[in-house]
Symmetry: C2
DNA sequence: CCTCCTGTAGTCAAACTTGACTAGCAGATC
DNA sequence: GATCTGCTAGTCAAGTTTGACTACAGGAGG
């Protein structure tokens, strides 16, 4: 398949999709607005690279457009193709379901989770809890010598760290499941979707330190 | 300075240093034995690249040696230079001290932590706890809009995830501090250093039970 | 003796990431 | 009315990572 798990591809696909049609600079601003530069490798170069790459792979459709109305070089606008939409959904589902310790992928997926039906989101999160449980079991089994954990010396602390992180991740996941099952947030097909992108020309509140003016209610 | 924080550089420096003198394949086997391929990007290409790069930067000294006794192409052996040792210590200290959410760097550092004096290890871990506290504070402050956390919608769950992870990391760190202060493990200058994690009777493909002869500081 | 298989040791091109850089236009400054 | 600064939009070279590939030796099987 096309999809090697990558936070950027998911973020970029999701951003373009939310706009319907977007150029690189818009995506870049969205990701900054989402704070993605804090928890993922969402630098300009990576974003433009991802756009070009996915256009080459047929996930995005590139429109060469006229020079920008607001100065600067001519910009290229992108749209998500049918294949890109399928890839987006695959990436999103896999990112929620799989435990790979890469918080950036999970963070991105949480940002888009309301794109799924509520039941499916819960289902995937439960798969995630189960994946963590299985991973934890295999790790503790594999790295526990017969002479007891002391024989590992301080190396055992590495495993301890992993297991601690896994438990914490499972706990957070269970909390999220509970909130979603309790009716929190607005999922696919439940009415007005949450608007998470900046309109063209709108200013990012976080980038400037100005408090958030935009709420949807 | 030379060191952009990278788990591989720390792992490779540490592995070569433990052997005194090692070739790439030995390092590769060490890292696999430590399970580093599970929690870091320790693939063959990355390891050989790190070796060459650090040799070019003067952190390692490369010896072109005769063809291997066990088949395969001629191998290059490496030794850690004085500059490399300094870099190793810098990387190790920074990896323990800094909270950057990259568990691979921390895992590598924990594996080498007994290379430091006990007091310094505790000191660095306390700095880590403090760094996490500061990071948590800045994140919660920066991303909490005045209308309350509800206005963020499901996006708030991303911050929730970060904060949860940070709290879990702090808790693990405090636990480790307590164990170390309680006398666990053998640190620098406290006698026989801990060597490897080989299970009883299991043979290792690289089998070097012998620590540095007299060259510990 | 010849072929295949395994283990050793490392190389390489392609992909990805990074941070610095270019270049156009608008409004402010002098 | 020339220059300076800042925003828009993106490019580029250098560095890093990836996974597949090469090449060599010894032993098993025929």
């Amino acid at each position: 398949m096309l999809g090697v798990m990558s936070a950027i591809r998911l973020l970029v696909l999701g951003a373009v999709r939310m706009h319907g049609r977007a150029h690189g600079y818009q995506v870049r601003n969205d990701l900054e607005y989402w704070g993605a530069h804090e928890w993922s490798n969402a630098k300009p170069g990576s974003i433009y690279h991802a756009l070009k790459q996915m256009a080459k792979q047929g996930l995005l459709l590139a429109h060469e457009t006229a020079p920008s109305t607001a100065g600067g070089p001519p910009r290229t606008e992108y749209e998500v193709t049918d294949e890109g939409l399928a890839e987006y959904r695959t990436l999103l589902r896999d990112a929620i379901r799989a435990y790979d310790q890469n918080t950036d992928v999970l963070s991105a997926a949480v940002g888009f989770i309301v794109d799924l039906p509520r039941e499916e989101a819960v289902e995937l999160l439960k798969e995630r809890v189960e994946a963590i449980r299985g991973w934890r079991e295999s790790v503790t089994e594999y790295y526990t010598p017969e002479e007891g954990p002391e024989s590992l010396g301080h190396i055992g602390e590495i495993m301890n760290l992993w297991v601690h992180s896994a438990d914490s991740g499972a706990e957070w996941t269970r909390g999220l499941i509970a909130r979603i099952e309790g009716g929190a947030y607005t999922f696919a097909g439940e009415g007005e979707p949450f608007v998470g992108v900046l309109a063209d020309g709108e200013e990012s509140p976080y980038a400037t330190g100005v408090p958030d003016p935009g709420d949807r209610d």
